[in-house]
Symmetry: C7
Subunit: 71 residues, 7 copies
């Protein structure tokens, strides 16, 4: 069995795509996380319906996250 936290650990230093509750998504390199699934991403790009913007380094709150996919 692959525990959700294990998959995060294996994704450290890799690109991940995060889907948020409000429909937006963020893509960046996972450089950290904690037990609440708060995450630190580097080189993050946010993508909404008709826009794309660079956010650079970002702390993401875990409670807005729907899914995390290693790219």
């Amino acid at each position: 069995m692959v525990m959700p936290q294990n998959l995060l650990e294996k994704s450290l230093g890799k690109k991940v795509k995060i889907l948020l509750k409000d429909g937006r998504s963020m893509e960046g390199t996972l450089s950290g996380y904690d037990e609440y699934m708060n995450m630190v991403l580097e080189g993050t790009e946010e993508e909404g319906k008709e826009m794309k913007r660079r956010l650079g380094t970002v702390v993401l709150r875990g409670n807005n996250v729907v899914s995390i996919s290693p790219q």
Copy 2:
């Protein structure tokens, strides 16, 4: 009685369909879960109103999940 966690355990390695709070659904092979019903899916496909997209391996946060159906 079949406890919810038992059904998840029996579904490991099998296809499951997940309905999310926002109306989307995801289908993939369940490869792990934790006590918050966070789940790891492999070969995941996300399906929205008029779209379908491949997400591959995904960590799904349990608090956005409405239901889980073994296929």
Copy 3:
């Protein structure tokens, strides 16, 4: 007094109708539940505004449930 958990226990093996927060409802045979009112239903049918679909066996997350009615 009938405690909510007692009514669930008496409904094991019987048909129940579940109303969800988003307006959908599910009907199936209750085969299990836990202390968070997560439930396992068998032979489940989901009913939305203009559709009906078979989901078979389902784990339902308790935090999306509005009400449970033994049929």
Copy 4:
């Protein structure tokens, strides 16, 4: 002072009207409740904007409840 739980206790066996978060209301005889304000109602009728339907015996999840009024 009347504690909220005391008013529920005094309402056992009596008709109550429950307002839910989504605007619906339910009316029935209160036959039980627990510390999370989950409730058991008998002879329940649900009332929405333009409809009324009989639900019979119902377990109501406390976290969707806005108010409870003994009738």
Copy 5:
């Protein structure tokens, strides 16, 4: 400093106006409350956008409350 719970205690037996998350408001005499800010109101009137209705005695769940104003 006036602690929020102290103001509630001083408001016992007095008229209060409660604003709810969904925009409705309720007015009545505060006859009790608990540590979750669940409250008991007597002679309650609910006021929505274009309506007013009498609810009499009411248990209000604290988690739907935005504000409480002694009148």
Copy 6:
């Protein structure tokens, strides 16, 4: 470092502006708060899209608050 609770303590007796989750704002003199950021305001005025109304003394529930700005 200024801890959030410290800023509240320094704002006691001063005017603060509170933004709420639903877009409304309230302005009044902060006379108390607790560990959940429930607050007591005096001389409160609520401001919505096209209205302004006086609420006087108010208990505000912390879980609806987005931000607090000392004026």
Copy 7:
């Protein structure tokens, strides 16, 4: 690994951009935070769809925050 709390600590005294759940964003100098990701910002500017306003010093509740980006 960079823990989310560590990134906040390193951002003390620096400009950060905060995205909120309701789509608004706030920009200001981070002068404090606590374990719930409540934050204190100085010289804060709030930006909505078609407006910008100065809020000065602000306590931001952590549970409305989606992301924090050091500028």
